[in-house]
Amino acid sequence: MLRIITDYGGLLLVAMGRTLLLALLGLFFACIIGLIFGIMSVVHNRPCNIIAQVFVDAIRGVPMIVLAFFVYFGVPYLFNTIIGGFSVTLTALQAGTICLALNCGAYMSEIIRAGIQSVDIGQMEAARSLGLTYAMAMRRIILPQAIRTMIPSIINQFIITLKDTSILSVIGFPELVNTAKNVQANTFMSFQTWAIVGVMYLIVITILSRSAKRMERRLNVDR
């Protein structure tokens, strides 16, 4: 155990850094995707509603490992070979970010939709009755109120996404799990290696959810 920490500790820490980087990138784009599709699912426009619904259903209906293979191998193959004439290559980080963003984005969109719908319809009506546009009312009145109810679910989704980065080890991005596999192969100490990796995830996620709890409490105080 000690040998793994002294010999490979630095390596594992760097890998954890990459895990966090991947998660943050994925989350960032997931927020944008979630906001776009979340709003598309609540506006009074049938085509928008349907597009948002199809997106969410499609992503939810496909395991992320399949999505990862599809984006990393399938999409470049489509452009380079099937259509031809393109030279598309995706790095593992790019493909991983896309996967996480799509996957988490679909769930975020559902969270945002539910959050918006939880705000009393009277808030929108009052805003519109004053002459404010739909977009102004959304931005100034509805979203700020929706965010509060969404925060616990968003944090939960962030934690799930952080864990989901491990799935992207299959496309060779050297995040924590991928790196740990190499450590195990070099040392044959699988029990120790995976125990250490497990504890590393545990520590990071615990810190995250604790500080999230604190933030949530603070938001509720000044309500």
Binding site: E125, L130, Q145
Partner: protein, 257 residues
């Protein structure tokens, strides 16, 4: 205030037509809520709409600023047909204040921001001007000290007075009230009605849905009784409330008085 005796044309000579509704129809699925409503409201007039629950009073009011889309018929506000294609609905709404039964103050904003958000966003005036106007209005409704309070810190009566002041901050030409006192504890009804009376005395054009018969008697220029999707009877408060001629009106008044 001169009281003309022809029912429809109360004060017709005194001001131009602000609201003209012709053969308004509205259905929700199979439910025909408004079957054919026609009405005119003149500048400075106070029209009180009464009727049993579910008779379509709120729906009618909401058709006047198109919170509800009419199925057919014409709603003209200051000569503009608001159901026409290409009409700038937001511009129309800027001139029509609406007060709701459940106040609908913006929960994430304090009283001052509730009032100044729309005028500032819609470039009606600068932020300091809006704040200045809001301050004066708050004084008028007796809440000068509440500018920094959030809605959850106010009583029902205070919320409703802020809601009225918020609508007035847009300097509308018409005010619509949908049962503004129905959600209030009895001891708070008076303070809200007083603000509305002052507003009427200032010459505001108002359409008020209410069960407060005292207010109707005292303030209304015209009382409209709605039932079954039609206007059953209308006239001066005296005519409709004291000497109703339609059996359905008599029946309704017997129940509420």
């Amino acid at each position: 205030m001169s009281t003309d005796n022809t029912k429809q044309e109360n004060k017709a000579g005194t001001g131009e037509v602000r609201i003209r509704v012709r053969d308004l129809k509205k259905t929700f699925g199979d439910l025909e809520v408004l079957k054919s409503i026609s009405m005119e409201v003149h500048e400075g007039e106070v029209v009180v709409v009464i009727g049993p629950s579910g008779s379509g009073k709120s729906t009618f009011l909401r058709c006047l600023n198109r919170l509800e889309n009419a199925d057919s018929g014409v709603v003209e506000i200051d000569g503009t047909d608001i159901n026409a294609r290409g009409v700038n609905l937001n511009k129309v709404r800027e001139n029509i204040g609406m007060v709701f039964q459940h106040f609908n103050l913006f929960n994430n904003l304090n009283v001052l921001d509730n009032m100044t958000l729309a005028p500032v966003q819609l470039s009606k005036c600068s932020k300091p001007e809006a704040a200045d106007r809001a301050g004066k209005l708050l004084e008028r409704v007796g809440l000068a000290d509440k500018a920094g309070s959030y809605p959850h810190q106010l009583s029902g009566g205070q919320k409703q007075r802020v809601a009225i002041a918020r609508a007035l901050c847009m300097q509308p030409k018409i005010m619509l009230f949908d049962e503004p006192t129905s959600a209030l504890d009895p001891e708070m009804v008076g303070e809200v009605l007083q603000v509305m009376k002052d507003l009427a005395a200032d010459g505001m054009t108002m359409v008020v849905v209410t069960h407060e018969m005292g207010f109707a008697r005292e303030v209304a220029d015209r009382v409209v009784f709605m039932d079954g999707g039609y206007i059953v009877e209308e006239g001066t408060p005296e005519e409709v409330l004291l000497h109703p001629s339609e059996p359905r009106t008599i029946d309704f008044l017997n129940k509420v008085l």
